[in-house]
C-alpha cells in the first residue's frame, strides 16, 4: 500500500495517472488523469459529453476499473464498490419502486444490518435534511423528478460514507427545480461536510456548488485540463460576482475543448 504524502489536508481520493479505453483497438477515452480530492471538499468535475467524466465517477464508485493507473480512497486501492462511497445516480431507476420513500432512504442501513430504531432515527434525520419527512410514506412514482433526486441524496447521506458521488444528479430536471436543488444541496453540504465528487456539464452549476472545479478537455484522449478554485461565500446566488466567475470558467472550458492552455485563472493540471 502506497502511503500518500502527509499534509495537513491529506487527500481523501487520489486518482493517479488513470487512462481508460473501451477496447484495446480504440483510442483511449481519457488518459493520464491525475486528481486528488481533499477530505470535506466539494469537487466538481466539469466537461463536455464523451470526455469520460462519468467513467471517472464509475471507477471511483468501483463499478468499472481503469485500463491503466490506479485510484485510492484514504490510501486504499479501489477494486470494488463499497459502502464508504455512496452514489447518487442521474436517473431515478435506482429507487426501489415497491418501497416507500422512507424504506428507500433506510435501505443502505438495512443492508448494513442496522437495527430498526437506529435506522428510523437516522432515516428521519436525513429525510428532514432534504425536507421530505412529510412525504416519507409515499412510493417513489408518486413524487416529482426533483423529489426523487432528493430521496437519492438522502439515501446517499444516511450512512457514514466517506464520499458522496453524484453523477449529473440534476441533469434531467427543469431549470427552476435544478436551481433550487443546487442551493439546497449547497446548504446540506455546509451542514454535513461530506466529501463530494459531483459530475456535470453545466458551468453555472459548477460555480454554485464547487470548492474546486476540475475541467476536462474533450475526448477522445481527454485529459484533466485545469483545476479552478471557486472562492465565493455560500449561499451563492446569481449576481455580478458569480456571473463574472461563470464567464471566466466558460473561457477555460472553451480552451479545454480546443485542447489549448489558458493563462488566466488556471493552475495547470
Amino acid at each position: 500500500m502506497t502511503v500518500p504524502p502527509t499534509t495537513s489536508a491529506a487527500p481523501l481520493l487520489q486518482v493517479r495517472d488513470v487512462s481508460y479505453s473501451y477496447r484495446s483497438s480504440l483510442p483511449p477515452v481519457m488518459e493520464h488523469v491525475d486528481l486528488s480530492i481533499r477530505s470535506g471538499e466539494f469537487f466538481v468535475l466539469l466537461g463536455p459529453s464523451g470526455c469520460g467524466k462519468t467513467t471517472i465517477l464509475n471507477q471511483v464508485a468501483g463499478f468499472e476499473r481503469p485500463t491503466a493507473g490506479e485510484m485510492l480512497v484514504a490510501g486504499e486501492r479501489i477494486t470494488a464498490p463499497g459502502p464508504d462511497r455512496a452514489v447518487v445516480f442521474q436517473g431515478h431507476e435506482s429507487l426501489l419502486g415497491w418501497l416507500t420513500v422512507r424504506q428507500n432512504v433506510e435501505f443502505p442501513l438495512k443492508v448494513a444490518g442496522v437495527g430498526t430504531a437506529e435506522r428510523r432515527r437516522r432515516g428521519q434525520h436525513v429525510l428532514e435534511l432534504v425536507e421530505l419527512a412529510h412525504q416519507a410514506d409515499k412510493l417513489p412514482h408518486e413524487l416529482s423528478g426533483g423529489m426523487k433526486q432528493r430521496v437519492q441524496i438522502a439515501r446517499g447521506l444516511v450512512t457514514d460514507s466517506r464520499m458522496l458521488l453524484m453523477d449529473e444528479p440534476f441533469g434531467a430536471l427543469d431549470a427552476q427545480t435544478r436551481a433550487s436543488l443546487q442551493l439546497e444541496l449547497s446548504s446540506i453540504w455546509e451542514r454535513e461536510r461530506r466529501t463530494v465528487l459531483f459530475i456535470t456539464h453545466d458551468i453555472s452549476e459548477a460555480v454554485i456548488l464547487a470548492d474546486r472545479v476540475g475541467v476536462m478537455s474533450a475526448g477522445p484522449r481527454a485529459y484533466l485540463h485545469s483545476v479552478v478554485d471557486v472562492d465565493l461565500p455560500r449561499p451563492r446566488r446569481r449576481g455580478p460576482e458569480l456571473n463574472a466567475l461563470v464567464d471566466r470558467l466558460e473561457a477555460t472550458v472553451t480552451a479545454a475543448k480546443a485542447r489549448r492552455p489558458v493563462a488566466d485563472l488556471t493552475e495547470a493540471a
Binding site: 473501451y22 477496447r23 484495446s24 459529453s49 464523451g50 470526455c51 469520460g52 467524466k53 462519468t54 467513467t55 464509475n58 468499472e64 476499473r65 442521474q90 453523477d167 449529473e168 441533469g171
Partner: protein, 295 residues
C-alpha cells in the same frame, strides 16, 4: 448525457476485452456456449441410453438409439414427412386466418370503448375454454374434414392476437392519435395509418404465442381424430404398443369418434403405406418416444 449512453452500450464489450483479448468476444462467447450445449447434450443422451438399458423394456422406455432408428425408419418410408406436412399445413392455415381475424377483432375492440366493454367478459370466458372442448361441437357442425381442425387452430390463435392488438392500440402514444385527428384523418385512415403500424410489436408478440398454441392444438386435435399428422403418429404409436393399461381411452378414441369417416381408417392406411412398424403389437419400434423430439 451522451456519455452515459455510450457507456451503457459498450461496457460489456469492455469487460469482455479485459477478460481475454480476442478479436470478437461475441463470437467467442457463442462458440463457448455451443460447446457447453454439445457437451451437455452428450451427457444427457448418455444418461438417457443408460436409463433405458437399466429399465430394460425398450417398448416402454426406449433409448436414444432406438428413437433414432424409429426416426430414420419413419423418415425413410415417408411417414414422418407426410405427418409433418399434414400438421404444418393445418397450422399455417389456421394460424394465418386466426391471426388476421384477431387483428381485425382487436382493432375493432381497441377502437371503441363500448365494444371493448361489451366483449371483455366474453373474451376472458373463451380464453379459458380450451380448443379441445370445442372439438365435439365443431365435429357436429363441420364434420371430420380439414375445416374442423383448422377452425380449432383459428380458435386458439384469434383471442391471443386480439388481446395483444387491443393492448397495442391502448399503448399508441396519445399525441400520435391527436396528430392524426388534427390532420383530419377519418377513423379508417387513423386506424390503418397510425394505430395499426404503432401496434405492430404487440401484434407480433401475440402472433408468436398464437403460433405456439397452434402447435399444441394440432397435436391434440390429431390425437383425437384425424387421418394424418404428427398427433396421429403419436396416437398410432401408442395404440400399437398394446400395453393394456397404457391407452384404454385413446385406443378406442379413433373408432369411438362416432364419425363414420373417422380415424379408424387412418391406421390401416398408414400400415398399408409400408411401415409395418405401426401395425403389429410386437413391433420393436419405440412408440413411446417423445414424439416432439422429431420436428
Amino acid at each position: 448525457m451522451a456519455v452515459s449512453t455510450t457507456l451503457g452500450t459498450t461496457s460489456t464489450a469492455g469487460r469482455a476485452t479485459r477478460r481475454l483479448v480476442v478479436p470478437r468476444p461475441a463470437a467467442a462467447r457463442a462458440l463457448r456456449r455451443t460447446g457447453v450445449l454439445l457437451g451437455s447434450l452428450v451427457v444427457l443422451v448418455a444418461l438417457w441410453e443408460w436409463g433405458a438399458r437399466a429399465y430394460g423394456v425398450p417398448l416402454l422406455f426406449p433409448g436414444p438409439l432406438a428413437v433414432a432408428e424409429a426416426f430414420a425408419d419413419n423418415l425413410a418410408d415417408g411417414t414422418l414427412v407426410d405427418a409433418v406436412g399434414a400438421s404444418l399445413t393445418r397450422i399455417a392455415a389456421g394460424f394465418l386466418v386466426g391471426s388476421l381475424a384477431g387483428v381485425l377483432l382487436g382493432l375493432l375492440l381497441g377502437g371503441s370503448r363500448i365494444a371493448a366493454g361489451l366483449a371483455a367478459p366474453l373474451v376472458t370466458f373463451f380464453r379459458f375454454v380450451p380448443p379441445l372442448a370445442w372439438f365435439g361441437p365443431v365435429l357436429v357442425w363441420f364434420g371430420t374434414g380439414e375445416t374442423a381442425k383448422i377452425l380449432l387452430i383459428v380458435y386458439t390463435s384469434v383471442f391471443v392476437v386480439a388481446l395483444n392488438t387491443i393492448e397495442g392500440t391502448t399503448k399508441v402514444p396519445r399525441d400520435m392519435v391527436r396528430m392524426a385527428g388534427v390532420a383530419g384523418a377519418s377513423w379508417w385512415q387513423r386506424t390503418t395509418w397510425v394505430t395499426l403500424p404503432a401496434s405492430v410489436p404487440y401484434i407480433a408478440a401475440g402472433a408468436r404465442v398464437a403460433m405456439g398454441n397452434a402447435f399444441m392444438t394440432v397435436v391434440s386435435a390429431e390425437m383425437l381424430g384425424a387421418s394424418a399428422g404428427l398427433g396421429v403418429m403419436v396416437n398410432n404409436g401408442m395404440t400399437s404398443t398394446n400395453v393394456p393399461d397404457a391407452s384404454p381411452r385413446s385406443s378406442c378414441s379413433a373408432p369411438s369418434a362416432s364419425s363414420p369417416t373417422g380415424c379408424s381408417c387412418s391406421c390401416s392406411t398408414r400400415s398399408a403405406s409400408g411401415s409395418a412398424a405401426w401395425a403389429p403389437p410386437t413391433s420393436p419400434d419405440p412408440p413411446a418416444a417423445p414424439p416432439d423430439r422429431r420436428p
